[in-house]
């Protein structure tokens, strides 16, 4: 995380992961099957977390909370939710 520059100012800075590594909240992990994926980018539109890369269609697991909206919305069923290992 970016450290606050001195002297302390009552200003917040825009950054990714403002709430910490939210990927640790995840119980199920979305996995994309690149064989089936048609890169329609619907998952990117529906991702509430904005963690899906829009060109490569890859997921940033550092922040993905595993809500599963992408898996339900995927028109080809290329995304499956796998249980997160301990």
């Amino acid at each position: 995380m970016k450290s606050v520059t001195k002297p302390y100012r009552p200003i917040s800075w825009p950054m990714k992961g403002a709430g910490g590594d939210t990927g640790s909240w995840r119980a199920h992990r979305p996995v994309i099957d690149n064989q089936i994926c048609t890169k329609c980018q619907i998952c990117w539109v529906y991702c509430p977390e904005a963690v899906i890369d829009r060109n490569e269609i890859t997921i940033d697991y550092r922040y993905c909370k595993g809500c599963g909206v992408c898996a339900v919305e995927c028109p080809t069923g290329a995304i499956s939710m796998l249980k997160e290992e301990e």
């Binding site: 917040s12 800075w13 539109v45 509430p48 339900v72």
Partner: protein, 312 residues
């Protein structure tokens, strides 16, 4: 850029809401906010004003924000007043040639901050005619503080202040029709939308609202998996059902002209929307059939009056 929506082109724009914020997994507010901000042209900057809400506490954690644009939060009840103040300051600086480029002003507030607490400042800002967009993401209760009823909560819904028991069966009153209140302000653009399909409806309405001069208002349905008590992965299904059952019709009012933007192919019974949600579970108990009948009658009545107004 034209208002014609092309998803392939929209994805090339930089994301203005970053990941790693603290909204719940599967929260509707996340897609609503990123959907609205996506309508901004690439080169334009925005000032995002936020009322106190789930969105505020989860995207703005000092000393960081999840917005790539300027962000300001002051209090629950005065987000619209704050935004109008920033807009007035911007105009003054622009007159003196101290700022360059286009800056747009967007306020996000929940239904508590819009329907109840912030209504006076919203009404004032709309009447004064500031060039701003006020976006209400409506999740139908005070989710941030523990799912208390708001004036936006639907009738019969279970909340922590309208529990199910011998004394009461959920909220007793119908939902306030805020969109109509805003139409009565005779502002240039008022719309009601929801994140469905490929977000065409949400996007075109956001674009119109942002680039129409004068005060504009968007009321966007934003399901809450905790408060509505449904599986979090069903976010899009629930939104679609709300639209297809006509519980949440999609329409816009441009310069006083009502226009329906989406008519469901087949109007589904309201039960389809109520059944997946835990907050309406008691309505399906034996002896409570009258609740569903009354909910359906209310939706039908609102839908008929909307059809009449839009002239469909």
């Amino acid at each position: 850029m034209s208002t014609v929506y092309n998803l392939k082109r929209e994805v090339e724009k930089p994301a203005r809401l970053t990941g790693g914020h603290r909204l719940c997994a599967g929260c509707g507010a996340g897609i609503v906010v990123s959907g609205v901000l996506r309508a901004l042209d690439k080169e334009d900057r925005a000032v995002v004003v936020n009322a106190t809400s789930c969105l505020e506490v989860s995207t703005f954690i000092y000393p960081y924000t999840a917005y790539m644009d300027s962000y300001i939060h002051s209090a629950f009840e005065n987000s619209a007043a704050t935004c109008s103040g920033v807009e007035a300051a911007y105009n003054a600086l622009k007159r003196r040639g101290k700022v360059e480029g286009t800056v747009k002003f967007i306020t996000f507030a929940g239904d508590g901050g819009t329907y109840d607490i912030g209504l006076q400042s919203l009404s004032g800002a709309m009447e004064r005619g500031h060039d701003m967009v006020y976006v209400c993401y409506d999740n139908e209760a005070y989710m941030n503080t523990g799912i208390q009823r708001s004036s936006s909560t639907s009738r019969f819904a279970r909340t922590t202040t309208t529990p199910i028991g011998s004394a009461g069966q959920g909220k007793k009153q119908n939902k306030k029709d805020l969109t109509e209140i805003l139409v009565a302000h005779h502002i240039p653009y008022v719309a009601q939308t929801a994140p469905i399909g490929n977000f065409k409806d949400l996007h075109t309405k956001s674009y119109k609202a942002i680039y129409t001069e004068g005060p504009c208002f968007l009321n966007i349905l934003s399901p809450c998996p905790r408060g509505w008590d449904y599986p979090m992965a069903q976010l899009a299904e629930i939104t679609k059902l709300a639209v297809d059952t006509c519980v949440w019709p999609l329409f816009e009012v441009e310069e006083g002209v009502w226009r329906m933007t989406y008519t469901p192919k087949k109007k589904l019974p309201v039960e389809d929307f109520l059944r997946p949600q835990g907050r309406f579970r008691h309505m399906f108990k034996p002896g409570n059939e009258w609740m569903i009948a009354e909910a359906q009658a209310y939706v039908d009545q609102k839908w008929e009056s909307l059809l009449e107004r839009t002239g469909v």
